[in-house]
Amino acid sequence: MGLDFNDETFRGDYTFRNSPRAIARFPFPFPEDSYMYSVNMEPHLPGRPGSVFEHVFDVDEHYVAEMRDRALVLAEDPLRCQSLPHMTLAGWDLLELIMVAKARDYPQWFSLTQDGNRWHWVIRPLQIEQSFTFLDETTLPCGPMEYITRQTQGDFTLQDQRDDNLWIEAGMVTTQADWSLDFDIGMSFHEWHAPVPLAHEMRVFDRALKFLLNLQLGAPVRRFNWTMTVDPLLDTSPENYPKWGPSKTTMTADTIGHRQHLRVELQTLHRLPRSNAIVFPIRCYLIKFEELVTVPKWARRLHRVVRDIPDELATYKGFIRNKPLMLDYLSKYDDGAPTSPGIWAD
């Protein structure tokens, strides 16, 4: 694994953990002491050095282990990666976006040599080396979207744009917060968001769609989403819900600090140049409650967010059952002191 990457698991013995450095750079998603849905999009500009915003695609200490976990999910269920036939060009767009960005931002790990359409790609931490012809599918071991997303942290969906709508028509989805690509593929924007409570009435999706239809090339945007996960399980899929659902019932006051995780999605959206599709990377970050409370501001704020969230949202996010246990744990770290604005630790 080397010094840069953790040797850890997201299943079975669950050896996943965050180093002190990973805790310090964790993307805490709450800029204030309460939470309600909002479109909350901002430009995805390079952010403060060392943070998850520093580069277009964040590569962190969990990279190698996450890619191993993705391969295990796909071996069990190939339907987690699907691309409708007309989405191949968007897949190439995505492959280019990722390779160019990573080779530029992490030259110690990635390199890309381009000679016309003949490309040579190297990922040192994964011992991958591939020569291929850009836009020629026969020169890769699988389709371009599958190829590049087997090597890139986070879930990805590709949206085609037509009829003033976005259509989810390709994706690699193995670290999802309980939604099924296999079921949703082919749906329009409002359709695939249909199960989300409250937000439709607030017209969140109308505004988000209008905004995204005008997303410009070279001007990506980002937002956060979040939920709660018991044990550091990346693959909280509806497909496997009977396997992971029972874990919610066995957490106790003694184990919650170690087993309960805040699950944060850093969602970015990028217009793609050839296909005019939009790629939606959904990058999942996990942090144990016992790790999170080492940052006093975050501990206070998370307590207040969980305490004040409407039951309907806590139910949708799947943690209503353990909300009292969470509040007991987090309240010990909330002395009522005011918190500073914004997401960063003090």
């Binding site: 082919g186 749906m187 409002h190 249909a194 439709h200 509806p238 819900y241 919610k248």
Partner: protein, 202 residues
């Protein structure tokens, strides 16, 4: 038919209207026959419509069979099928042979309508090209999100997946590509704790 308020992925259906076309494919089950009869009765040029129409019809999930009334219309072609599964090869052939200007109408149960739209999509036609009208049975076609098996004619919520045996609750979330609602395990967190099945669909 008035459906209660639901989520945006739940299909909405219309009322069939005869549109000008070089051919007319009408697929219906059960009470869907009455939607076809009403459409023909209101058509401006019913004789021309029927002269270029083919009807594929099957009994509804509740057993309603109005074959005689449809056959009495004397369309260019009439085919009565015992089930959608049995009608499928014929439907696929008709769609594969379709020319520009074919009008497609689907009427009856949601399962029937959804599967006609699905087959149209598979044939490369836009699903919006299929006119729809929901009549008769409200039973649902539900896909188990866990084993991916589809259970036809679901009447209760929750119900037992006919493939893997899990207890599933029925969501309004609907996939056009699968032509089914989504079923999710109801006792995943507390195995065995299954609420009594309610007859929600008839």
């Amino acid at each position: 038919m008035h459906a209660p308020p639901s989520i945006p992925s739940r299909p909405v259906y219309g009322t069939l209207t005869a549109r000008p076309g070089r051919g007319h494919l009408m697929v219906a089950d059960g009470e869907g026959a009455e939607a076809l009869l009403a459409m023909v009765a209101q058509a401006e040029d019913a004789s021309n419509l029927l002269a270029t129409a083919q009807i594929i019809y099957m009994p509804g999930p509740n057993g309603t069979d109005l074959s005689d009334r449809l056959q009495a219309l004397t369309p260019a072609r009439f085919h009565r099928s015992p089930s959608f599964a049995a009608a499928l090869p014929r439907l696929q052939k008709v769609l594969a042979d379709a020319h520009m200007g074919l009008q497609i109408y689907a009427a009856g149960s949601e399962g029937l309508i959804g599967q006609v739209q699905q087959q149209a999509m598979f044939a490369g036609l836009p699903w919006q090209a299929v006119q729809t009208e929901h009549r008769g049975s409200t039973v649902r076609r539900v896909q188990c999100v866990h084993c991916k098996g589809i259970t036809e004619n679901v009447r209760t919520d929750p119900f037992v997946c006919s493939h893997c045996g899990l207890n599933l609750f029925v969501r309004d979330h609907y996939s056009r590509r699968i032509a089914a609602f989504q079923g999710v395990n109801i006792d995943a967190e507390d195995p065995g704790l299954v609420p009594p099945a309610q007859e929600r669909f008839a």
